[in-house]
Symmetry: C2
Subunit: 204 residues, 2 copies
DNA sequence: CCTACCGATCGGTAGG
DNA sequence: CCTACCGATCGGTAGG
């Protein structure tokens, strides 16, 4: 079994949402998805390379054929998830008209991503405290770039003068980032929650 | 050096905010405060008993004279911090008149607690993912009891009918809980942030 | 990708 | 409260 099996464009049917770039092997993509799920569920420190290996059907040490280190794996994951989220949100924003409608589109997409039942995505964006110092600054920089989308959305709102837009944006983002803490399926849908959020945040 | 030195009522000047019950030894209180700071800074898994011991001037194993386990230590800490916060918030709410004023008083007090520079308090309330399964349900139950204060505050608001009060309350609480992620001293004060929050959340 | 292992660190304990 | 240690687990590596 050699390792030259990279020229396989999207074999398994989950091309629906391409979280990771196309220029990685299917096997590595599989490993990244498994790792993302475990990190989201148990946190950075709570997920060992042996755990990831076990779910992938190999021993922990074997992962080092695909990754450089646990740090690098987490960083790659985090950046890929944020990149994919950013693309989806920008698409949704581009399809909407009006400042409040664009904000609601962004919120709805963000919540759909964070609240997806199989969410191999981003519920890891917050526990920066758990992550080694060496990669934390890179994670924060990437997150800041992501949040620029919301910065410009908020800047476009016709808000009352007494509102501090920086605080307003941070409050909004903290709601979106921690919705998975209290969300329960079967009640309001992500889009309905987005409508509630914009209903609350809408003042002019 | 014997161990019978418990009958000392508040020796060091920090009686200003009694986070922990009076019926524990000063030494144990000291250890709890050190542990709280480290947990808040580095998370549950990122804080070892050796770390706590080092800051307290003893070896990790020596802490077991005062605690039963790391789990129990964290649980005690968490419950004491929430209990103290609840008392302060209920006092502030009791001193205010009007549903919106009471809400703002609760938010301001909550933010003062979470954003205090030496905050040995609660920025640990969120990383339940990091904590062992055995104590997680107890932590959640205690937090739910704490949040009942906000439940009744929100129920008293004259909100428009289209607002879902459960979602509204969760959104509000997630903002208060994660304000420490973006707060920077020197800009808005906690009370000013509370005013911004209520300004946003105020609809009737 | 596996076997077998390394040094480090963890929570916790015994015995004083 | 210390010394000295236990078994478990971790990220990572060598050599195949």
């Amino acid at each position: 079994m050699n390792t030259s099996e990279k020229s396989n464009p999207e074999p398994h049917g989950a091309a629906s949402k391409a979280i990771f770039d196309g220029d990685i092997s299917p096997r590595k993509r599989e490993i990244l998805e498994i790792a993302a799920q475990l990190f989201a569920l148990k946190g950075y420190r709570g997920t060992s390379l042996r755990d990831i290996g076990a779910k992938a059907g190999v021993f922990g040490g074997s992962l080092y054929h695909h990754i450089k280190s646990k740090d690098a794996l987490f960083l790659e994951l985090h950046n890929a998830a944020l990149g994919a989220a950013q693309v989806r949100i920008e698409e949704a924003v581009g399809a909407a008209e009006g400042a409040w409608q664009r904000l609601e589109a962004a919120c709805a997409t963000m919540l759909e991503i964070q609240l997806a039942p199989d969410s191999l995505t981003m519920p890891l964006m917050n526990d920066f405290r758990e992550v080694p110092d060496e990669i934390r600054s890179a994670l924060i920089a990437r997150r800041d770039a992501f949040e620029d989308v919301f910065r410009s959305l908020v800047d476009d709102l016709p808000l009352p003068a007494e509102f501090d837009r920086s605080v307003y944006r941070n409050l909004l983002l903290s709601q979106l980032n921690s919705a998975s803490d209290w969300f329960r399926p079967g009640r309001l849908e992500p889009a309905e929650i987005a409508a509630q959020i914009v209903g609350i945040f809408r003042h002019e």
